[in-house]
Subunit: 196 residues, 2 copies
Amino acid sequence: MRTHDSVSILIFNITRQCFVLVKQFRPAVYMCELERHNPEVFQVKDMNDCCYPRDLLPASVGVTYELCAGIVDNPELSLAETACKEILEECGYNVPVANLRKISSYRSGVGVTGSKQTLFYAEVKDSMKTDIGGGKAEEGELIEVVEIPLEDAFNFSFDENLPKTMGVMFGFMWFQNNVAPLLPQKIKTNKITPIP
Amino acid sequence: MRTHDSVSILIFNITRQCFVLVKQFRPAVYMCELERHNPEVFQVKDMNDCCYPRDLLPASVGVTYELCAGIVDNPELSLAETACKEILEECGYNVPVANLRKISSYRSGVGVTGSKQTLFYAEVKDSMKTDIGGGKAEEGELIEVVEIPLEDAFNFSFDENLPKTMGVMFGFMWFQNNVAPLLPQKIKTNKITPIP
């Protein structure tokens, strides 16, 4: 499978002390759950045996919490500029490139795509919110912007009933280690606690 | 793409205070780098223009550091048992299931496969090493077992010249937060330091 490099952004709203994530319906996740719970759907030999959609799982099982992210498809933009574009399109914040901090890069989907993803940290304020976000409907994106309060981040991260990517878990933990210690004391009291 | 759930294991050798990773040649990563550096290879219209392999990038650009991992393809084994099987096959350690600690699960490759991966932590000792590991040659696996000393883990994790998966970065950071504080003092002095 040929693919593009991508960027991913851990967004923290400093005004309201919350992480900003995107919640998306992912067809691949839905199909994966469908196969787990309704394997007969994939074993139909005669179309008369076909399951109707009403027999299937609710759409909510295909929903995943993810970091804001996007592919690098415009060679005229730097990685950080691409990240800013995605933050605006998906989450509605107009963030200056200077507000971005590169965390690192790594390989995603090594068994399938092998592309390189670069992870940024972006600190945003309510005053930067200029749009509702939600992604580009014309590209088929169905994105909901969700906010996870800092004090809930640890429980959110390890609650397996809330399907998420490892990027979210890594991002929250990186924040705990690298940003939380620098926050004002008032906020630090809410810092994510380690596993008991 | 239909796919299987998978397990992934952060392995720490307590005898020699090092992480145990696998280093693999990943065709998808190689092809991705090839497209980046030799895009002409993918634009050949006439086979007489075809590049010979000697013109291409060295195989090393397709090598990635990863956590030991494997797909869940035997319904008779629990996830932890599957993880133990992979540890033995890939890394050569015979680990009792009781030595495994589940960290969490998450969605991998949400855009392509959407499968669920469960991450375990396994503490191993030199005395558990009963095999050389290296994966199953008959399944085309080309795996090298590598050890990353605890004191090098932070630099390794954020060195972008060493291609790795986010699982490695997440695992090392999780260890720092959850296991390192419980290690004897002698070892704690080597603990991974935060980004300056």
